[in-house]
Symmetry: C2
Subunit: 476 residues, 2 copies
C-alpha cells in the first residue's frame, strides 16, 4: 500500500453526537420483556428448512412472523414458492417523498444436530451470562426480530414511521435460497425500494459495531486430468507414460507465482482497488496474527506477500484447492500408475472480477500448462459475483450515525471472505444499495450446537435500527 496520504473518499468517522431518540428508547425499554417473550415464541418453532419432516413447522414460523407484523400495523402476505414460503410485510404510509427501506431476513434455521452437544435444548430458548441460547437465535430469527422490534417502537411510540418499509423474510436461506431471486424478479415492482438492510452477520468483536463492506465472489471448478485408458502397473509402465496425478500436481503448482499471487494471465486486470481509507481502517482493527494462527492451528501464515491477514481475507482474490483425488488412497502400498486425477479448484473473487471471465482465463491457462500425454477437462460448478458497498452513500452515513448512537462508538468497516449471493441479487434486481449490519459475535456457533446471540446486542441493535429510519428520512 502507498504510504503517501491519499484523498480519503470515504468518511470513516462521524462527529455527529446524536443519541437514540428518547421516545423510541423509552418504548423499547418498556416493551423489552414482552419483546423478548415474543422472540422466545418465534425461536421455539423448529423451522428446519432442510428437513421435510419440519415442513409444517417452517410454515408455522412463516405464519407466526406474518401475525407479528400484522400486529404492529403492517399489511402482510405469505407467498407460496416451489419451496418454503416468503413472508412480505408492508407499511407505506410515510410522507410523500420519503424513501422506501426493504429489510431482508430469514425465518428458517439450520438442523440442530448433534443434540447431545447442546447445553439446553435447541428449541427451548434460555438466557445464561447475557447470552440467549437457541437454534436461530443469531441466524437469523433474533436478528430479524431486532428489525421487527425497531419498527414496533416507531409505530408504538409515534403511531407512524418516517420511511416506507417492506419486510421480506424467506424460509430457504439455509438450503440455498433457490426460490428467492426468482421471487424478487417476479415481484420487482412491488419490492421496489431505495435501500436494502440485512442483519445476518457478526460484529468484529464485542462492543464494536460493524458494517460489512464487501463479500468475495466464487468461481468453483473441477479439473480432471486423464492419461492412460486404464490404471497401469507403475513398474511396467512407469517412466514412459505421463502420470496424470503428477501432471495434475504440476498444473496446480502453476496456479500461483512465487509471491503467492494467482498466476492466471489477466487475473488481476479487473480488480478494483479498495479505498485507501477502508484499508487503513482495517489495519487499525484489533486483529492479532498470533491469535489467528492459534485459532487455525498453524505456525505460519501464507498467501500474497506484502498484505495483512485481514486484507488477504477480505480484499484479495484467491485460488484454493478444495479437493484432490487420484489412484490408490487406501492403506499400504499399491504400485499403480493412475488413469485419472481430479482436483476441485475454486477462486474467491473481488470486485470487479467475474466468474465467467475467470473460467475463460483458467481455460487459457490450462491450454498452456497441460503436458502432452494427458488431457485436462474443466467443469465449472458454481459461481457467484463479488460485492462491495458504496460506503459514501446516505445509507451508510445513516448506519454510522445510528450505530454510534446505540453502541457509543464509531462502527468499523469489515469485509467477509465468503460469499452471500442474495446480496448481489438485491442490488442487481432492485437497483438499490444494500447495507449489511449484523449483531452476532465471534464464537456465536451459528451452524453449531449452543448457538447464541448477545442479549445486549439485541437491545442495542434494536435501538440502532430504530434510529436508522430517522437518519434515512433526513440523511446527514
Amino acid at each position: 500500500m502507498p504510504k503517501t496520504t491519499t484523498k480519503t473518499t470515504t468518511k470513516m468517522t462521524t462527529k455527529t453526537t446524536t443519541t437514540i431518540p428518547a421516545d423510541l428508547d423509552r418504548w423499547l425499554t418498556a416493551n423489552d420483556k414482552s419483546g423478548m417473550s415474543d422472540l422466545f415464541e418465534f425461536l421455539r418453532i423448529p423451522s428446519v428448512s432442510a428437513r421435510s419432516e419440519h415442513d409444517a413447522d417452517t410454515a408455522r414460523a412463516a405464519a407466526w412472523l406474518k401475525a407479528a407484523l400484522t400486529k404492529i400495523g403492517f399489511t402482510t402476505k405469505v407467498w407460496q414458492t416451489r419451496g418454503h414460503p416468503v413472508v412480505v410485510g408492508e407499511w407505506r404510509k410515510a410522507p410523500p417523498g420519503a424513501p422506501t427501506v426493504l429489510i431482508y431476513g430469514h425465518y428458517d434455521v439450520q438442523p440442530p444436530e448433534p443434540l447431545d452437544l447442546w447445553t439446553s435444548p435447541p428449541f427451548e430458548p434460555a438466557i445464561r451470562d447475557g447470552k440467549l441460547f437457541a437454534r436461530g437465535s443469531v441466524d437469523d430469527k433474533g436478528q430479524l426480530w431486532v428489525h421487527v422490534m425497531a419498527l414496533a417502537a416507531h409505530l408504538g411510540a409515534r403511531g407512524t414511521l418516517p420511511v416506507n418499509v417492506i419486510v421480506l423474510a424467506e424460509g430457504e436461506e439455509e438450503v440455498g435460497s433457490q426460490n428467492l431471486a426468482p421471487f424478487i424478479e417476479q415481484h420487482a415492482r412491488k419490492l421496489a425500494c431505495d435501500y436494502v438492510v440485512i442483519s445476518d452477520s457478526t460484529m468484529f468483536a464485542p462492543g464494536i459495531p460493524s458494517i460489512l463492506s464487501s463479500l468475495r465472489g466464487l468461481a468453483y471448478f473441477e479439473i480432471k486430468v486423464k492419461g492412460p485408458s486404464g490404471d497401469l502397473h507403475s513398474g511396467m509402465y512407469g517412466g514412459a507414460v505421463v502420470n496424470p496425478a503428477m501432471a495434475l500436481a504440476r498444473i496446480l503448482a502453476t496456479l500461483h507465482d512465487r509471491n503467492g499471487r494467482v498466476a492466471l494471465r489477466g487475473f488481476y486486470d479487473r480488480v478494483r482497488p479498495f479505498p485507501a481509507a477502508v484499508l487503513k481502517g482495517m489495519r487499525k482493527l484489533p486483529h492479532s496474527d498470533v491469535r489467528f494462527k492459534k485459532e487455525v492451528g498453524v505456525r505460519a501464515l501464507g498467501g500474497e506477500a506484502g498484505k495483512t491477514t485481514l486484507e488477504k481475507l477480505w480484499t484479495r482474490p484467491t485460488c484454493e484447492v478444495n479437493g484432490m483425488l487420484s489412484g490408490y488412497t487406501g492403506e499400504g502400498a499399491k504400485t499403480v500408475l493412475p488413469s485419472v486425477a481430479m482436483a476441485k479448484v475454486s477462486f474467491r473473487l473481488v470486485p470487479d472480477q467475474d466468474p465467467e471471465v475467470i473460467e475463460r482465463l483458467l481455460r487459457s491457462h490450462l491450454d498452456t500448462v497441460v503436458p502432452p500425454g494427458v488431457t485436462a477437462t474443466l467443469h465449472p460448478m458454481h459461481g457467484g459475483r463479488p460485492w462491495r458497498a458504496d460506503l459514501d452513500g446516505p445509507l451508510y452515513t445513516a448506519a454510522r450515525v445510528a450505530l454510534k448512537a446505540a453502541f457509543g462508538r464509531d462502527p468499523v468497516i469489515v469485509g467477509e471472505g465468503g460469499s452471500i449471493p442474495v446480496v448481489g441479487d438485491f442490488e442487481r434486481i432492485l437497483k438499490a444499495p444494500v447495507l449489511l449490519v449484523g449483531f452476532g459475535l465471534p464464537g456465536e456457533n451459528a451452524h453449531a450446537p449452543d448457538e447464541w446471540i448477545s442479549v445486549q446486542n439485541v437491545r442495542l441493535g434494536t435501538r440502532a435500527m430504530a434510529m436508522l429510519y430517522d437518519c434515512l428520512r433526513d440523511p446527514a
Copy 2:
C-alpha cells in the same frame, strides 16, 4: 547415447551352431504326450495360495510336485513354513567338480475370479489354437514343469545329469513370498549352488527367446502434508492460510525437472550405466511406440528426454505418484480448505541405487521444498533393491547357446520395469548368479481370466533347458 563405437563388453550373439542333443530331443518327443498329461494333472489342482479354503489344495500341489520329482529320481522333501510349504528336490550324482544348479519356481496360483470371463474352466486345462489355457499354465506351473521335463529327459535318456540340481518350489509367490528369504537363509548351506535359474517371465515376442537382464527396485512412500488443525471454510480463511493440498501439489511438482529427470539432489549418483551393447540391443528390438501408445491409450509418451521407451522402462529410475487424496472429493462443490493432503509416491530404482539412500534424499528434498505454514511427514512403506545380471558370465553364455539351439535364433536381452525381490534374495544369500529366462508371451493373462502358455514354447523351452545343463557342464 554416444554414437561412437564403444568396447562391447557383452557378447550379444554367438556363432555356435550347436543343436539340441539328439538323445534328449528324441526322449522329449517320445514323452511329449505323457508329459503334457502330467502337466494337466498339476494344473487341475486349484492351489490358490491367497485363499485359506484352498489350503488343502495348495498342500496337495506341493505333494504332487514332490512325487513327480521323486519319480524322475530326485531326493525330495516338503518343508513346512509358517505359510505354505516349500518343496525341495535334489539330485547330486554329477561327476566331481560339476557345478550345482538351483531351479526356482512356484506351485501356487492366483485366484481365478472372475470365473465367468474364462472360456473354459480355470482348473480344467484345455488346448485351443496352440495355447494351453488354465490358471497357472504360464504362472508358474507350466514354466516349472518345463524344468521338470528337462531334468526327466536327462535322467530318462541318459540315466544321469551333467550337473547337480536342486529344485526349490514355493507356494507363496502370489502372496508375497514372505517365508522364502528366511527359508533360503536357514538352509543356505543345503541350497548352496553355482547358478540359479528361474522361469517365471515372458519372451519379448513370439519366436524371440528372451533373457531378462534387469529388474527395477522400489522405494515407496506416503507423504502427508498437514496444515490447519481442522478443515476450514475456504471463503473465510482462503488467502491467508497455507492450503495443504496446494502445498502438496507444489511439492510433487518439484520431484522432476523440466527434462523429466528426478530432481532429488544426488538421485542419479549411484546409477551404473547399462553396457552400451545392451542398450544397442534394446534399440534393435521390434518395439513400436505407435503400438505402445495404442495399447496404453495415450496420444503422447512422456518421461526422460532423449531416451527410448524401452530404455525408460527397463534401464532408468523413475518417480511416480501412485495416489493422492485431500479435502472434498465427492460430487458437487464444497468450499473447504483441507486440513491435510496425502500422496503415495514411489521410485523405481536401477543398480546401484538403494531404497534407504533414496529415502534420505527425499527427506532432504522435502526439507528444502515444504513451505512454512504446513508440515510434511514421510512414511516409508515398501522397498526393494534393483537387480542387474552379469551378462558376461558362463551362465548367460550357456543360456544363449541353449536358447538359440531350441528357438533357432539368438535370444534378445530384455529388462523388466517391475520388481521381483526374490531374485536379489537368491544372489545375496547364495552368492550365485541368477538367470531369468521365461517362456510366456505378451497377452498371456498371467493374473487374469483365460491365462495361457504357448504349447510350442513349452516344447522348445523344455529342450532349451535340457540343453542348458550340457552347456553348463562345459561352458563355451
